[in-house]
Symmetry: C3
Subunit: 346 residues, 3 copies
């Protein structure tokens, strides 16, 4: 043990590991030629993440014996259309996930920045996985869809998170508890988050509920988000249902979306229709998404998606994607978008 610790001391200096682990490098590069149009103006350019968010990551697990495992996961979002990362200065950051975990029969304890419990279901039960012109707008309704750090919206990822996940064998049940301190010395704990998610997946059925709260700079600005999702895989088609609500002060928006994914040989078709209702207001809107993907392989897909947003008189929502500014839309106006792209997993 003495030698082990001496070795560890040296390791600490060298910043390395005695037994070089198998670090997995993984990621997605996904870009699309995209046209976004609103009742105000039109944008044409290259967007990113039309089918899956572009990213680069490093991860690995270590078997500690006795059913215990350790793992790490570092995953950086990126905007390959401009070569940029997601730091405020454009540099690469592990903004999507940067965690260390201990896993065992008891489940998983995970520390670090991670997807919020309330975001995950909106992704899983959206045929477009919250990507591209067809994506659901149910995951950050009080912010701006398509922007990861939406000001005022529900959190997509949460920093400083302490999470517990149920073990994998629970008769189909899965879930998590997530808590992130505000890390403030006094006063309102702005940025603090508490969320939970419970699901059940067995056979063709998958259903999940999630709820969470994000503390604001004052109690009236606390944000509460909840959602319910369900899918049933019939083989020829997999219908999906997503209900989600976000509330802050007097402002409350509720989404209901029906979706479907239909595989057919190397092709897959996607469709969704969503209604977004702002309480006590006519700031409502509807969104339609349609998509077609051709799988060259498990890793590489060419796709085309279309999206259409129709606002009621109090709303001016636009189609939003990563890497191309959203077009202007007037109150009561409409917006549409099309992207034609390639998604490559590595």
């Amino acid at each position: 043990m003495k030698k082990t610790l001496m070795a560890m001391g040296l390791l600490a200096l060298a910043g390395s590991a005695a037994a070089q682990s198998q670090v997995q490098i993984f990621g997605v590069v996904d870009m699309a030629i995209t046209r976004l149009s609103g009742s105000g103006d039109t944008r044409f350019g290259l967007s990113t993440g039309g089918a899956n968010i572009s990213r680069l990551g490093f991860r690995g697990t270590e078997d500690l014996g006795g059913g215990l495992k350790a793992g790490f996961w570092l995953e950086a979002g990126m905007d390959p259309d401009v070569g940029g990362g997601k730091g405020t200065g454009g540099g690469l950051t592990f903004n999507r996930r940067s965690t260390v975990s201990l896993m065992g029969n008891f489940g998983e304890v995970r520390l670090g920045r991670d997807d919020s419990a309330t975001f995950l279901s909106t992704l899983i039960f959206d045929p477009f996985l919250t990507n591209g012109v067809g994506q659901t707008m149910a995951f950050t309704m009080l912010g701006i869809p398509g922007v990861a750090t939406a000001a005022g919206g529900a959190p997509i990822q949460i920093s400083n998170a302490i999470s517990y996940f149920l073990p994998k064998e629970m008769g189909g049940f899965y879930g998590q508890l997530q808590f992130a301190p505000g890390e403030r010395a006094s006063g309102p704990q702005q940025g603090k988050y508490a969320g939970t998610r419970l699901g059940y997946q067995k056979g063709a059925l998958n259903v999940a509920l999630a709820t969470g709260k994000l503390w604001g700079d004052q109690p009236v600005n606390d944000l509460k988000a909840s959602n319910v999702g369900a899918s049933y895989d019939l083989g020829v088609v997999k219908p999906m249902l997503l209900w989600a609500t976000e509330k802050r002060g007097d402002l409350k928006v509720t989404a209901i979306q029906l979706g479907a994914v239909m595989p057919m040989g190397a092709s897959e078709f996607k469709a969704s229709i969503g209604h977004y209702d702002t309480a006590h207001s006519n700031a409502d809107w509807n969104k339609l998404g349609l998509g077609y993907g051709y799988n060259f392989s498990k890793r590489t897909q060419a796709y085309v998606n279309v999206g259409y947003v129709k606002n009621k008189s109090g709303a001016n929502k636009s189609i939003g994607v990563q890497g191309l500014a959203a077009p202007g839309t007037t109150l009561g106006g409409s917006s549409n978008g099309i992207d034609l792209g390639v998604r490559h997993f590595f």
Copy 2:
């Protein structure tokens, strides 16, 4: 297929790939002890990229069958002398190249940030590969040589690019078409770029032409760049010729450079002499570059380069490198530089 799509859904969540691909990690660390002197002042310090730009990259290709391939390429420039990346906040970004490609007998369609069509030839037909104190100044004459994001100069890399490359078997011909939208809602499409490049390489001969246009904030600020390069490998020596011009409004600078690379055992010698002519003006200058490299291996070289700039009465150009500020040079003055460094490919 249903299972495939289910797996893909899971992949999307995990941000990963079913069949872990062989991601290649590659790069260059190149640093040099450098002295730059101008008629105004002198700088001494550590520079980077004296022989090859320092970089870190990740890339891979996937065989899709039927002659079709997919590929990705993520390459970040860096300043190892200070540990920094190239984002505005100093963080690592894939500023050099971040692309996804589909390749086949038809050629290659490539999306994302990439070298501009007009930059490439100035690199290939410069003995110093646009690096270090001896580098050509023909690649961004209206900007500041040695600075990647030269304000006002021709683009080195272009964001949002949509490119088509000719297939590899074209009897020696190669080339590309490149277009990058301005992504603006209205008005002048500042940042929009269109370029093309056509070359012929057979036996000892390599020759290429390129031309491109970068849209400005108003038509008078549009920038046009064109160049012609040729080299002929005689074995004992490889002479090179580079002609390049950049024009914006009434401002036009034209470069003509003669260069040569001479291998000799483990050694290689480099030389170039260039004349830079500003139209209707005496803002002209000449540059001389001399270099010696000793190849310890294919990957590792020690090198020493010298450069000398002599300005005519209307110019005050200085020797510029990465990682050390250019010295001040007075109108009509001269500037010289020397770097002694190590370049290591990995």
Copy 3:
């Protein structure tokens, strides 16, 4: 050779290496649930680097034959609690080390950003390796402990460094000379650094001396740092001694710290007590650190550390860690901290 050079030219274009080297990916993800308390206020949250600084790196060496080797090392610090890197804009940068080296019987010549000669001993002779709530405060006493780019303190890492290291076989002696130019055209060479370190390690004994100077914006702001460390490994326990001083103008702080590391099966215990004396002033303080680590494996450790700072009437030092703001402490007040975390090497 001609073909070799042609290949190298292509390599330069491709930014790659003919013989793909074995690039090692390595790093640490280390996070802890942490509570810091001062006489002023209290912070609770997730910190990083409680046992070892979180990092991600890429490195490799190449055998050049004849006893000669080349190597590169790129190592980025990171804050996984928030997913961020260490660039000013939050992006990943190789701030901890980004170097290229030539190594042989003569020793090692290393260029680039690296640990400063004066920092290294404070890490090696601190049981807590300058990490977490128990860490020594001897490495940047005129700055703010726990902050890598401490304003006014001794340098932890140095940019633009040119270093020479003694060869490995010197009868137990090791050491380095390090010089970093200020890279300024004229006037005081702010940021210039010169340092040296000499040590002797044989059997159970390890002892080292280091001294260095960091140039300021004017001579009165030059900073001089010196330290001496020693450890003797008795097997059941390894006692350590660290003496360090930093001086700038009339300000001088001297630290003396006693520490010990005690391995016991899979466990390890750590303790340190340090006294910090400000010359001609009652701005003195003491710090106590206690730690326990349980090694699941060589790579994965769960740990708990506590730290306590007691100020004399002229000082208001606080416990500081990475990723959680230091609590406020009043003059003459005290500060304490506890972290409970997981450290995973990869």
